[in-house]
């Protein structure tokens, strides 16, 4: 089972993230865990989330990047679900060996993510926090799917969405 942990506070008004999610929604063996729909009051049910993760072979973290970080609820999800003794630390082996795919989008186009650009760094400068989180839990880090400025670039967005779908299909073929 592929678990897509999806975090977007305003899904209905989103362009890029909605297109990405719609690209994989109908795939067999894919479960969408829409955090903002499930926990609008931020009262994450840790046991339920951990049980869901335990059943997955691939964990997808799909979210827009805003202020260089995941949305608040996904950050909270990291804090309360990925607990010591379960996800990391002594006896924390629940996620070991599972795959982890990061599906991120950013509002700025690729041109802003350069040393001279608006953000002063390439986009991969903002990856380590999420990647280290996955790796510390023993998750097998997959090449991320990143869509930059995609809400103003429909061709680029369609291409990223297709790549996302292909990646999940391939995972299902090889792992399930």
């Amino acid at each position: 089972m592929i678990l897509v942990v999806y975090a977007h506070p305003h899904h209905s008004r989103s362009i890029a993230q909605r297109a990405l999610l719609d690209a994989v929604r109908d795939l067999p063996g894919v479960e969408i865990d829409a955090l903002y729909d499930r926990y609008p009051d931020f009262d994450i049910d840790v046991e339920v989330e951990q049980a869901r993760l335990a059943r997955a072979s691939l964990v997808v973290w799909q979210h827009p990047v805003y202020w260089y970080a995941p949305p608040a609820l996904l950050k909270l999800w990291f804090e309360v679900v990925l607990t010591r003794g379960w996800a990391y630390g002594e006896g924390g082996t629940a996620l070991r060996g599972k795959g982890c795919l990061w599906v991120a989008s950013a509002g700025s186009p690729a041109a802003d993510y350069t040393a001279e650009g608006l953000h002063g760094h390439g986009f991969d400068a903002f990856t380590p926090a999420v990647e280290r989180t996955a790796r510390l839990c023993g998750l097998d880090w997959q090449p991320p799917i990143v869509a930059l400025g995609a809400h103003r670039d429909s061709a680029g967005l369609a291409e990223r969405a297709a790549a996302y779908r292909t990646t999940l299909e391939a995972w299902t073929r090889t792992h399930e």
């Binding site: 362009i15 009051d41 827009p64 809400h151």
Partner: protein, 599 residues
């Protein structure tokens, strides 16, 4: 009585009441003592301002009749039928026990057995007026104690008829008049008449009168109704109060119940006051001066014997053991009916005139002692409660939080606290609730949380927090005022029934106030928006914005809320502004849809 003296008397009565009653209330003695004192002051043994003490008494007995009518209005027939056990079994036990003990005592004091039986039966009956007034003031009527007392009083009203029929048989004088079977037949006929009229005639008549929409005519009709029924019962040789009570019960399920209540209540209050004044006037201070020893002995004997008998039977009639002395205190006095029975016994030569005067004096004084007995009982229990608290403190069992009110609201709060191992003491005044909760192991105390002694006993001096979760707004505010005055360091968290209550609480400096339905209404609003297709998180944000703006409007009302008109105007404009702001928020959001942040 000519017109001048009527007005003169009215001035004297009203002035005496206006002076004495607030004074007595201020001293914590209750209104009954105030009225009795007023009567003693203006009566023949006081300033002698009123000459017609007896006619005033006769007139004022109508206050008791109105009171029973109102009590009847609160009880529909179904509940009355449910009460038949406590009324007949409990009441019968009370009458028999008290009459036997009192008669034995009177015989011991040298009265003939016939006289002792008649007087014993007479004194076994309590004063409905005093007992009910006292219970109402202390909110005791809905408690098991109140119900048992009321059942006894009701039985006494019924039994009074039998007693009056019996007394002439004890005497040596043979009265003329109707034979007993004839009297019984008239009685049954009168009751049947009241039932039939109440059931079938009154509803259409009342509809007709209400339709005329002349308000005072409805009031006049209500009074007329009660007077006619009382008079009919009186003519049939029955208790006027019983007839009025019966009529009240029959009208309890009528749609005019509240209108009748509202119209009759002020008359009842005033006439009952007049009744107490009349009792105060009728106390024969001359006798007290002549034979103070004998009178005191009679009074003491009456209270001790009857009180002990009542305390003895209290558990059998459903009164909790620790409340049995309160029960005894409430019912130990002789009643207004005793005067009538004494008169009848004297007429039948069963009671010597000297005893009549003595016993009448003792009964009147016993009525005056009731509020004092209750007061003494309070002081004693309060002291006992305080002693208990000190014992608790020695055990180190300090309460951290007092929760007042343990309905659905207080329960959730308490469970949350208990789950966090907070030491909670709960106060509630619903006995059934408490019995249930005790079974579940909660530390719940029965009692009115607005009483200082109870709060102290619950540990308010050392507690950190008071949670006010009672549903009665007046009680809630009274409790907050009391806590603010007596325990200034005690923090308060409160439940508000509505906006007005919220404002009142905020105005008293209580900032942790939650309107009881507001949060759940917002939740339901969110569910509705979600059902219409809104994202759950967006619905939450919208509800959050609504809450914030709504609280802003309420805070804006705070400086003005005592000014009704201004509050209404402000609330209205505030509501419009709130909706306008929310609309603007929403538009702004819509236009930023798909913007770079949440692309």
């Amino acid at each position: 009585m000519n017109e001048g003296s009527l007005l003169h008397d009215a001035i004297v009565y009203l002035a005496a009441a206006v002076v004495c009653v607030p004074l007595a209330a201020r001293l914590g003695l209750g209104s009954v003592i105030g009225y009795l004192a007023a009567g003693a002051v203006i009566g023949p043994w006081g300033l002698g301002l009123v000459e017609h003490a007896e006619s005033a008494m006769h007139f004022a007995e109508f206050g008791v009749v109105l009171m029973l009518f109102l009590i009847g209005l609160e009880l529909d027939p179904k509940r009355l039928i449910q009460m038949r056990g406590p009324v007949f079994a409990g009441g019968g036990l009370q009458m028999a026990t008290c009459a036997a003990v009192l008669a034995a005592g009177l015989m011991g004091a040298g009265l003939s057995w016939q006289g002792a039986v008649a007087a014993g039966l007479a004194i076994a009956m309590s004063s409905t007026a005093i007992a009910i007034q006292t219970m109402t003031e202390r909110n005791l009527l809905p408690t098991p104690l109140g119900r048992a007392s009321f059942a006894n009083l009701l039985f006494q009203d019924i039994a009074a008829i039998a007693v009056l029929a019996l007394v002439p048989l004890l005497g040596t004088a043979r009265p003329g008049g109707q034979p007993a079977w004839m009297q019984a037949l008239t009685g049954v006929g009168a009751i049947a008449g009241v039932v039939l009229v109440g059931r079938f005639v009154l509803p259409p008549v009342m509809r007709l009168i209400a339709r005329s929409e002349v308000r005072e005519i409805f009031t006049a009709f209500a009074l007329l109704l009660v007077i006619v029924i009382a008079e009919a019962m009186h003519l049939a040789g029955l208790s006027m109060g019983l007839g009025a009570f019966l009529a009240g019960v029959l009208l309890a399920s009528s749609e005019y119940r509240h209108a009748l209540e509202a119209d009759i209540a002020p008359f009842k209050g005033l006439l009952l006051g007049l009744f107490f004044i009349a009792v105060g006037m009728s106390v024969d201070f001359g006798l007290a001066a002549d034979q103070p020893g004998r009178l005191a002995l009679m009074l003491g004997g009456l209270l001790v014997l009857k009180g002990a008998a009542l305390a003895l039977i209290a558990p059998a009639v459903g009164v909790e053991k620790r409340e049995r002395w309160l029960f005894a205190g409430l019912l130990a006095q002789g009643g207004e009916f005793a005067f009538v029975v004494f008169a009848a016994a004297r007429a039948a030569d069963a009671l010597p005139a000297e005893w009549d005067a003595l016993l009448t004096g003792a009964v009147a004084l016993s009525m005056a002692t009731t509020p004092l007995l209750i007061l003494a009982h309070d002081r004693l229990t309060a002291r006992r409660a305080r002693e208990q608290r000190e014992a608790d403190a020695i055990d180190g069992e300090g309460t951290e939080v007092i929760v007042a009110g343990f309905g659905r609201y207080g329960q959730i709060v308490t469970r949350l606290l208990l789950a966090h191992d907070v030491r909670v003491t709960v106060l509630d005044h619903s006995p059934e609730q408490i019995d249930l909760l005790r079974k579940f192991g909660y530390q719940v105390f029965y009692g009115d949380a607005t009483r200082l002694d109870l709060l102290e006993a619950a540990g308010a001096r050392k507690a950190k927090l008071l949670v006010v979760a009672i549903d009665d707004v007046a009680d809630s505010l009274a409790l907050v005022d009391l806590a603010r005055a007596e325990f200034p360091v005690l923090r308060i968290v409160a439940r508000a029934r509505n906006v007005r209550h919220w404002l009142e609480l905020q105005d008293r400096g209580v900032t942790a106030v939650e309107r009881e339905t507001f949060e759940s209404s917002l939740r339901t609003g969110r569910s509705a928006l979600e059902a219409l297709g809104m994202d759950p998180y967006e619905a939450r944000e919208f509800a959050d914005a609504f809450r914030r703006r709504n609280l802003g409007v309420l805070r804006g009302l705070l400086p003005h809320f005592r000014d009704e008109a201004k509050t209404v105007a402000l609330a209205k404009s505030g509501r419009q502004e709130l909706e306008e702001n929310l609309r603007r928020d929403r538009e702004a959001r819509r236009s930023e849809g798909g913007a770079d942040g949440w692309h």
